[in-house]
Every structure is written in C-alpha cells, then in structure tokens.
Symmetry: C2
Subunit: 155 residues, 2 copies
DNA sequence: GGAAAAGGTTCGTACTGTTGACTATACATG
DNA sequence: CATGTATAGTCAACAGTACGAACCTTTTCC
C-alpha cells in the first residue's frame, strides 16, 4: 500500500482535464489515508472495513457480502484471514443450517475501536487544511453524493 | 471489483460515528465508479492510472513510480502486464543506460482516451445528484483537500 | 580509483477478487 | 410427500496488486 500520496491518480491529472481529476485524486488520498491507519493497527484496509461492518451484532455472510459490496467467495477468503488472526469467529445461525454468522472476538473489538479512532483522527487531519466553515459543507456534500449513489444502486 | 456500491465502507457506517463515514464511503463510491469504467474499457483501475500517468511524453520508471505512489518493484509488474497487453512499451533513456522509459503505444493512446472520457462522464453522473450550484463548490473543496494533502507529503 | 547511490528487476510472500463448480440445506409447488 | 428450484457458503484455479529484500548494472561522488 503506498504510504505517500501519489502525484497523479485515476483520471489523468497529467492531462489536466477539467473537473475530473479532483474527485479521483480525492479517492486516492482518502484511500491512502485509511490504508495508513490500517497499517498502524496491523490490519489491511479490507480487514478494517470488515470489522467495522460487523459492528455489535453477529452478521450472516450473505448480509456482510452485501454490506461490503463484494462477492460471497471473496468474503469467504476475507473472513478466513481475519479468523486466522483471531479477530472474528464463525458460528451457526439458529434455524438455518446452511448459513454462517460472523462475530467479533475481544481482540477484534479492540482492533476495530482503535481503527475507528485512527480513521476519525486522520480524516479530521485531512480536513483541517480547509477553512473551518467549509468542513461541514464538504462533509454534507460528500454524504449527499454517497446517499444518492447508494440509492441509485438499490433501485 | 465490486460492481455495486456497498452499504457500508471503511470507517464504520454501522456504528454511525459522526462525520467520519461520509468521507470513506465517498472514497469507496468514487473508486467503484472508476473501477466500473475501467472494466468497460477492459482495463484494471491501476492500468487506467498508469496510462493516464504516462500522458504525452515517455516517462522513466522512477518518475512513474513516484507519480503513482507505488514501489519500483510494483511498477515493474504493472508495466509488465500493460506491455504484455500492447498498451505501452519500454525503451532506453539517452545518456543513462540504467534507466528505462515507458511510452504509450497507439493502442494505449486509444485506451486512455476512452478511459478518460468514461471517467469524466461517470463522475459527472455521480455529481448530477447534487444541486447544480453545489457541484463546483464540491469540486473546489475536493481539489483543496487533495492539493493540501499532496503538499503535506512533499514537505 | 573506489565507495556510495541510483535504476530497475527478480523472488518470495500475502492480500484481494472473479468465475465456475460443488455440496448441503431451505423453500415452493403439484 | 416427493420433486424441483433457490439459497448459503466453500473450494479451486487464476489474475492483479503490493511490499521488502536481494541482486546486477550503471552513474555519481569523494
């Protein structure tokens, strides 16, 4: 995982095409920021996402895969690696012998708390470069884009 | 690559921690958007980034790695795979027999043009969900964050 | 002239993801 | 109740991506 922000990114900053590069450059910056926090916590970014996705309640694989936007087979591998690390465990689902539910272990709960705190802090640091009055505006617009994108997909 | 926007993302939307999740969810949405365009063009996202990074002039590997924010060894593999696809070629650098320069082939030039157009269109589509007057504001704030992040890293 | 640094590759390793196939189980239908 | 369909999850093969260490060749520095 790159530990530095690249000078160019998806979308061709080198060409200076109007408008486009900011957003993909932003994605790269945000992703690299999260990756750095994950590395500090000895996680991979996907492991961080997985642990966050688990939250307080056991989750079924099918629901987790949907939540994370990945294929079930990919989730099998991701959960295998996290289980091997002792961060989570698989268990049976009452009433459905096909299904498997996944829940955090104590180590996983600790890891995710640290990861969350680190990501919050790192992103606050990223936005600290903006004028104070612009920060909630930026978050609001970001949220609006995400909600709309998710709504479009669910439709 | 997920072809749908996940319900949660890096940063723990499930926990609803104030502010943080929007930005990492945004990164996931943007990355997934670019990945879909890449797939349409039969590229991987990193191949898209690489071709955009090459631009109009041959680039040395050491500069490309820096530009893309990856280790030289990783770039060797990335360039190997793109070269195998006929998208670029390696050549000598006058005056420095250690160095290798990389340049787009005709096929690569065509691929990157289509990729750029597709990404532009897809991102415009993403932002179309925002009120018209908010779009330049969002791009401006995104750009400011990226410029600041890149500046901090270069320092 | 020799040491240090630079440019790039190779190798081993791990993570991530897709696709297709498979097994076991749940559900729907006649 | 038997049978067909659908679902949940895993497995295997494969490919892309990335890092760190080691290596070779060449350039730069003292």
């Amino acid at each position: 995982m790159p530990d530095e922000i690249p000078d160019a990114s998806l979308g061709c900053a080198a060409h200076g095409i109007g408008g486009m590069p900011e957003l993909v450059e932003l994605a790269v910056v945000l992703t690299a920021t999260v990756a750095r926090v994950a590395e500090e916590q000895e996680l991979t970014p996907m492991q961080g996402r997985l642990l966050c996705g688990l939250g307080d309640q056991p989750q079924r694989m099918v629901d987790l895969a949907q939540l994370l936007g990945i294929e079930k087979a990919a989730l099998t591998g991701l959960v295998d690696r996290a289980e091997r690390r002792g961060l989570l465990e698989r268990g049976p689902v009452p009433g459905d012998r096909r299904a498997v539910q996944v829940s955090l272990t104590d180590a996983g709960t600790q890891a995710v708390a640290a990861f969350e705190a680190g990501v919050t802090s790192a992103l606050d640091g990223l936005l600290a470069t903006l004028p104070v009055e612009d920060r909630p505006e930026f978050r609001r617009l970001a949220s609006a884009v995400v909600v709309a994108a998710r709504g479009a997909r669910a439709a």
